[in-house]
Each structure stands twice: as C-alpha cells, then as structure tokens.
Point group: C4
Chain length 189, copies 4
Amino acid sequence: MTTNRLEAFSDGVLAIIITIMVLEMKIPEGSDLESLRPILPVFLTYLGSFVYLGIYWSNHHHLMHAVSKVNGKVLWANLNLLFWLSLFPFVTGWMGENNFKKIPVILYGTILLMAALSYRLLTQVAIKSEGSNSIIRKAIGKDRKGILSIFIYIAALAISFFQPAISVFLYLLVALIWFVPDSRIEKVI
Amino acid sequence: MTTNRLEAFSDGVLAIIITIMVLEMKIPEGSDLESLRPILPVFLTYLGSFVYLGIYWSNHHHLMHAVSKVNGKVLWANLNLLFWLSLFPFVTGWMGENNFKKIPVILYGTILLMAALSYRLLTQVAIKSEGSNSIIRKAIGKDRKGILSIFIYIAALAISFFQPAISVFLYLLVALIWFVPDSRIEKVI
Amino acid sequence: MTTNRLEAFSDGVLAIIITIMVLEMKIPEGSDLESLRPILPVFLTYLGSFVYLGIYWSNHHHLMHAVSKVNGKVLWANLNLLFWLSLFPFVTGWMGENNFKKIPVILYGTILLMAALSYRLLTQVAIKSEGSNSIIRKAIGKDRKGILSIFIYIAALAISFFQPAISVFLYLLVALIWFVPDSRIEKVI
Amino acid sequence: MTTNRLEAFSDGVLAIIITIMVLEMKIPEGSDLESLRPILPVFLTYLGSFVYLGIYWSNHHHLMHAVSKVNGKVLWANLNLLFWLSLFPFVTGWMGENNFKKIPVILYGTILLMAALSYRLLTQVAIKSEGSNSIIRKAIGKDRKGILSIFIYIAALAISFFQPAISVFLYLLVALIWFVPDSRIEKVI
C-alpha cells in the first residue's frame, strides 16, 4: 500500500468527521432568537472541535510526507488514530448540549488525550519503520509539542473533577500551541 | 502541502456538506400529498443552498488553479471558509422548517455573508502569498463581484428585520450574479 | 476544470448519497424478529436505490471518459444530475416507510424521471460541447435506452395513480435494462 | 474503467460507512456517568465494526492491487460487497442498543457472513477475469482464511440461537484471524 492511498483514505474519514459534527447542532423547534440560545454552547464546541480536527489533518499530512512506505503497523496505528478522532462528533455534541458540565468535559478531554497518544504512537511506529536516520526521525526530534500536549491533557483531566471551566481553557491552550502547522518536517526537508 | 491535496480535502468536505443537507428534509409521517406540504419550503431552501454550494465549489477550483503553493495562512483561510460553509445544512434546515421567518432568514444571511467574507479573505491571503505579479492577482483584479455580493448581503440583512421576503429575493439575486463560473482567472491564463 | 476533477467530485457525492441512504433504515425499538418487519420494505427500497445509484455511477464514468473538456454548461448539467440523485435517500425512505403507497410511489417515480432527464440533458450538453464528430456523439448514438427509460417512467407514473405495485415493477424493469454498464462508449473507443 | 477509479470510489464508501457508524451512538439525555452506561455496548460494537471495516479496507486494497482490469462483473461484485458493508451501521447500532440480545446478534452475524461471501465472490470473479496464471490466482491460492471465516460465521449463527455471547466471541475470533493484512498477494508480487 502506498502512502498516497493511506493519506487519501485518512483525508476522506477526516473530511466526513469534520462535517457530520455539524449534524449534532440540532435544529431548534422555535424560530425566535431565544430558541437559538441552547445551540450556542454546541456551536462553540463545534468550532473548537473543527479547529482541532483541522490541526490533526494538517499535521497528519506533514507526517505522511515523511513516510515512504506503509506496513501493517503504520496502517493500524493510523486507523487507531482515526478511531479516536471519529469520536469527536459524539463528545462534541455531549459537551455542547450539557453546557460544559463535569462528566462531558472529562470525556471530551479523555478523547483529546487518546487522540494525542494515538498520534504520538503513529509517529513512533513510523519512525521505527523508516529508520533512525530517516527524515521523520530528525523532523520529529524530541517531539516536545506532542509530549507537552499530553501533559496538559492529563493536568486538564485532573482539574476537570473540580473546575471543568479551567479544563476547557486548557484544551483551547493546546489547540493554540498546535495552531501553527507542524513546521518541523518542512525545516528538515 | 500541495494545492492538489488542499483541493481534494475541500472537495471532500463540500461533497459531504452538499449531500448531508438533504438529511434536513425529514421524512413526513403521513403518506398523502398533504404531508409533503411542510417539506416544500425545506426543499426550496435545499435547492437554493445546493446552487450556492455548487457556485462555491466551482469558484474554489478556479481559485486553487491559480495558487501554486500552500502555506499555513492559505491553509487556515481555506479551513475558515469550509467552517462557514459547513453551517449551511443547519441554517438551511432552520429557515426551511420555519417557512422563511425573520430570525432564520437573518441567520441564513449572516452565514452567507460570513462565507462571502471568508472567500474574499482566502483570495486576499492567496494573492499576498503568490505576489503582486501573480496570475491570481491579475485575475481577481478589483473583485467587483465579491465586493458587490458583500454589500447586497449587508443590505439584505438590514432589510430582513422588516421584510424577510425581500432578503430571500436578494440572496437569490447574488446566487444569480455568481451562477456563471468565475471566468476571470480563465481569461488571464 | 479538468474532467478528472468533475469525476472525483461526482464520485464523492455519489458515494455519500449511496451510503447515507442506509441512515433512513431507522434502528427498531424492540429486539425481536417482529420489530424487524417494518424495516423490510425500507430495506428492499434501499436495495433498489443502491442498484440504481450503482448504475448511475457506472454509466457516469463511461460518459466522463468520453468528455475531454469541462465548460460551465457541462459543470451545471452535472450538478443538476447530482441534485436529483441527492433526493434518492428522501424518496427511498418515504416509499419504504409507507409500504409502497400511492403518493410515495409517485414521488419516487418523479425523482427517477427527473434523474433520467437530467442524465440525458448531461449527455446532450456534453455532445454539443465535444462536437458532432466526437467519440461521445457516436457512442451515445440515438440513445435508445435513455429514451425508452424515460417513456417507461412516464407510463409508470400514469399507472401509479391506479396500481402503484405495477409502477414499482416498472421501476425495477428499467434498472434491469440498465444493469449492464453502458458499453456503447467502450465499443466506439 | 480503471482499477484506480474503482478503488477510489470504494475508499469513499468505506470511509463514509466507518464514520457514520458513530452517529448510531446517540448522545445521552443526562450529563452524569450513569447516562453513559447504555452507550457502552454501542461503543464496544462500534469498536468491533470499526476493526472489521478496517480489515476489509486493508484487504480490499491488497486485492485491487492484483487486479489489472475492471469489467462489468468485477464492478458489480464490488458494489455487492459495498452493499453488505453499508449495512454495518444498522446492525452495529441494533446489536449495541440491545445489549447483544439473540436476534440482533443473529442479524449482525448474517451481515458478517454475507460480507465474507461477497468478498469471496469478488476474489473469484477477479481471478476468473485475470486468468489462471495471474498474480491474484497464485496469491489467493486456496483462500484458507476466507473459507475458514465463512465456516466460523455459520457455526456462530447456529450457536447464536442458544448462546449469543459465544457467537459474539466467534465474531471477534474471525476479526483476530484477519487482523494481520492479507500478506498473500504481497508475497507473490
């Protein structure tokens, strides 16, 4: 299997995830401004998740450009990442509809953490497959951003038991850190 | 990242948006002609949104053909456009189900305006990235159509507080202006 | 715009239509065999619509292979076809849920007719764009299958006011006629 | 039609199936941990179906790489496979929501069996089309895995009338057998 094929399939899945999330914004019964109000937190969560998935899509491409061959391990590490990302619509809808309450905030953070761990796993599997002198090995380097994100997620999860609002703020912080596309691979190439 | 990849992803998202909109046409309970009547405004709104998204898809391609390289700014200007377009199913369903009432008409117009502004932002970011002597710079020129659309949307929004029907008519007018694919880039090439 | 791009977008839309149709098969409340019974007509309609969309997808490709350039007219004739095909999930769900009653059967037939007319329009627009000596002109020839289908649909629509069951049979008959992929273009090439 | 086109369309359909399955995980009413409990079996079924579809996607590619030309029979054998796979979201949702009760477990197994038979049919049709000396003929060989899976599914179906839990275990066993991508074609190439 070529990297190209894996990328096209991942693109397809990500495009669908990012788009069906909007279906969780249920059309309100009424037609006045008031009936839009319960939609607002869902909209904000949707916006956040959209940015997150945009970041994953962008970084995923940068990663795949540095991968020359796809073996079974890379394939399943990639499917594993897509699985956790596919849960975004569910946790986005639940957190949005419940106005950032404790348990939905914890679940949202858990999925963010699992996606981050899966992305790191994918990079590690790809590095192992490409070899220690590969472009990807040099490009990812110590993966400071990746490790930092994971630590912030864990902190956010711990905090969410007491102050869900701070956790949501930390989720946004990680998004901000990653907002700039992963230029590490570009630099090495 | 190549323009090709950005285009394929945008294509995917647009294809999904254009298709899931039809899910907002809920299947009626009854099986007689009468039970189809509440679907009619949803159908008409769906038709209008379909044409709008067709226009965006067509023009987006013409634009991307004139873009030679994708940097982070172009990437996020593009995702920003896709975000606003992804709200079409929601506002289409709401306006259709509420028979073109005031607030849904205002919200629909707001999304149209945001999409138009995002498209203009994308062209500006692309022009800046490509340089002042680029094909895209000459092709877009003064962007009269783009600016005219934005003014009509703002007028339509102001009018919709009093006469939503006129606003809907203005939305259709803009669609008509854009119906012909953006031939400016073709001319310059 | 290249034919390739138009084909990829159409492929995307068709893949989504064919797949979201299955969402109209609502999961039953109970968990016994009895609760599956109301799903059966929806399942059968889904199967029929799946075959229809498979035929359109297959013939669409044969058609596009004979199209060398895409102008605005071809582009919109193609979007027009996709629009009518996008209504398949709605009419499939309605006819299935209402056990082939009169009005849903008429609506289903109307969409089949509109799709057939749109496909014929697309071939005519493409022939005009390609020229009277083009491969596509020779391949489509008198388009007997296309014209026959349209006549059968009109007959089925007339009959459906009295005997919807016969109409459903006629819809299946047209599917059967088209089941073999359109080999006319292959022959000429 | 080229193999490439068939693969891209199948990729699209599989990407959509794998992603819309998550829509069957309905967002719970409450916001506490308790309200997540009924989602757990749906989540587990979703996970299982995700792995299954990942396996089909991976093996489908290996198969398509060994197919040099697409005729009408290969095309429809492929659409037949996609049809049965498209029912995964329905049976996944039903089995998950009903906590692995008898009839849903039987239906899930039936779809697994139909998909396995359809995949075998596709390989047979492809072998016939490619010829007895083709790569695909040598690669598939006696198709022990395929035949074994079909036998396990039939056994699981028989057992599910008495012990649905054992059947679910057998479904997982088949997934495990196939988890490693079909390396037979790779070896021969």
